[in-house]
Amino acid sequence: MAELTSNPVGKNTPRVDAYEKVTGTAIFTDDLQFGPGLYYGRLVRSPHAHALIKSIDISKALEVPGVKAVVTGQDFDTRIGLYLVDRPVFAKDRVRYVGDPVAGVVATSEDIAEEAAQLVEVEYEELPAVFDPVEAAQPDAPLLHPDLGEYKVANFIFPEPGTNISEHFRLRKGDVEVAWPRCAAIVEDTFRLPHIQHVPLEPHVAVALWEPSGQVTLWTSSQSPFAQRDLIAQSMGIPHGNLRVISPYVGGGFGGKAGVSMEVYAVAMARAVKGHPVKLRMTREEEFIGTTVRQALVAHTKIGCDAEGNLLAMETEYYFSGGAYNDYGVNIVRAAGYSCTGPYYIPNVKGDSYCVYTNLPIGSAMRGFGMPEIHWGIEQIMDQLAEKIGMDPAEFRRRNCVKTGDIILTGMKMPAIDLVACIDKVTKAVNWDERRGKARPRPSAPHKKRGKGIAIMWKAPAMPPNPGSSALVRFNEDATVNVEIGAQELGQGAFTVVAQIAAEALGVPYEWVRVSAPVDTKYSPYEWQTVASRITWSTGNAVKAAAEDARRQILALVAEHWDEDPANLDIKDGIVISYKSEREQPLKDMVIYGLPNENFEGWKGGPIVGHGKFMPTYVTNLDFETGQGPRAVVHYTVGAQAVDLEVDTETGQVEVLKIASAYDVGKAINPDLVLAQIEGGAVHGMSSAFEALKFDERGRPLNPNLVDYRIATAADAPRQIHGDIVETPLEDGPWGARGVGEHVMVQTAPAIANAIYNAIGVRFNDLPLSAEKIFMALQ
């Protein structure tokens, strides 16, 4: 038998899912087998960015042999959404983006469904459309949602009915007008980021079965099986207990599989063909335009500092292009509002963050959740301010970055973190002092220029105040352990980390722990969603509590059996030991069957099941006018990145040589998995600096495929990615741990931009950093 790992927290235990994934036996949603009764769905999508639906004729589609049903918006009366319930199940009277689903066709094969979908005749009356978020926010802009005032909305989201503004977050601290005259340097500029897409390798797929009894099952590739149960149950009028969501491994999420996107269509179609499962899978083109995208942003930002380099004031307006429906996106914009300064202490702040409806694909959660977008401008301005007052940009950041105990922009006291340590580590890793003068390394060719840049970040889990996690810890006869959670394995390593936590807290070897999968809302304990980099922290706390509960039951039982004080007992490597009497009791002989009384006169104990939960109870709402409140968020994770690159002045191409990252994760439960996130995130962040989803003047997508929308390949990855872990414990994290999954890509794009400036002396306010744009700027 292989070696066993005691006390696995902090160790590089192997991933629990690796064997399945390298042998092709790991099951993803599209791999599930449903037999010959399976039907397939296809969606009929709007060709117009904004139009009224005058009529829909489904008769020709229904005549195609093999077609079982065609459903349209007329079949459904409700809307769906997480924070703002603004999305009809199918477009009813109006379409709001190119790709808005107007009908669903169910047939015995995907080909037949596709053929019939072409025969659904929809008559539209085109309306003026709006694509720019600043234009869309103006009073005379074409209105996307005239009924905005009637939509159900979370009590911390503030839409402005009669406009396209679905959320406006205000941050007011100090007085910027008093501060500006005291500034020795001020930089004010406008920054633009395009829409980008998550591009998980696995496209969205869902299979729904609506049984005649009213029981509904949804198999789905999802970060949010429980949130899907909740939202789909409410929207489709299914009692929660009758809707079961089963979610196998997720082939990449990055936020795109959070909440509900296309899954509700599968359920809606299944209702029309009761007793038959209906599979709906997105083509790669649909993945780009018909699931969700990262919102585009226009940021007007002004920041000033004094002659010593102390930041004094910031004024910013963020206009996010929320797309046609902002049911999830509104909270991204709120997060961008209450974190609008980036990771800096600034005494005077005026921030306005707007989510604006535009006739474009649905903007929703993507890794970083608003932070990559706002850091793009902030981190370039910080470099410019440092230059204006003659300070090194890393030193400028050390001076101004948030520190433990600072009263940050919302009035909240900053929990313990060490961002300065992160800056120190990344500057060391790229030989920061070589960025100027004679120390500068020679470029690899005469027509290339070398440069180094830095950027820092912060991000809080952005969520409602009370998202809960729960966990169960059960034993098998041989004392191996099943950990049951509702959190999802997306590749980030959640299952491995919870297995480590359970083993450590119980006192059993890591190899004894199994994580029950797939997540199944009928059997798995509740979990809000696998988002917000919250699983190691929140689910981790719940698993630790469940393991400790099981441990308490075991120790109480053995103590009673031995007539000892439980305080003298411990569990080591699966054996209960007494430090007092030195007796031993293997778990395998007691965790199911209990223990016999003396002379076998009856028994005590029984199957051990530990349960645990975690929910933050301390987050407060913020003042509507000022964004002030005692506790805006649970905590922040902070980090720094430095980039070393070369720019080819003949082609404008950028080659990233090295990315150095350091993040304060509180405690690395599995250090190598933290480094794996850091590395993968650095390349994701680098790739995002060169990506853009493009649309023509009528809102039609121009590049929804992997040839015209390129993501980083093995050839593009930097030669070197350096990772450092800083560990300043989080007060309420398991062993002090906080999340890091999203943070690892937040500031990569501005770090690259700052390095490009260091190389060629040119700044770029707008993403993407295309070779063409860089080349033209050099002419």
Binding site: V22, L201, P203, G493, N705, L706, T713, A715, A717
Partner: protein
């Protein structure tokens, strides 16, 4: 649409199958043989998740028709381990934590396997070149490249 009877060797086992003219090799593997380890990421030959070996050469199985596989040898991710023993490459991918979501992993393994068969001691640029058609959004590639190097040191695919 015609139905064709073909004979194809998949992971060493000879199969006789009736396949429609327009069925892709990917559909044949997944829907006819239940070999779901090979993934469909784009149906357009752009992502590499469906890569399999046909007569030893890596192929995007979404771009090849099943009938074209008639009389040929196909190897999928399910065929890399033998008698429950993982290949050196599979071991190295685990050792380097070079897998995250795992959706690109089967295709990645196949492309790397083909490389090591062709060039047992590949240089880093050769590895990057060989994997350029296999997209991965999670890992950042470096650990995969290192895993291929480790497998090469341990004696190949």
């Amino acid at each position: 649409m015609g139905i064709h009877s073909i004979t194809v060797t998949v992971n060493g086992a000879k199969e006789r199958l009736d396949v429609p003219s327009n069925m892709t090799l990917l559909q044949m593997l997944r829907d006819k043989l239940g070999l779901t380890g090979t993934k469909n990421g784009c149906s357009a030959g752009e992502c590499g998740a469906c890569t399999v070996l046909v007569d030893g050469e890596p192929v995007n199985s979404c771009l090849m028709l099943a009938v074209e596989a008639d009389g040929r040898q196909v190897t999928t991710v399910e065929g890399l381990a033998h008698d429950d023993h993982l290949s050196a490459l599979q071991e190295a991918i685990i050792e380097h934590n070079a897998v995250q979501c795992g959706f690109c992993t089967p295709g990645m393994l196949i492309s790397a396997h083909a490389l090591l068969e062709r060039a047992p001691r590949p240089t880093e640029p050769q590895i990057r070149e060989a994997l350029v058609g296999n997209l991965c959004r999670c890992t950042g590639y470096l650990r995969i490249i290192e895993a291929v190097q480790t497998a090469a040191k341990k004696g190949g695919a």
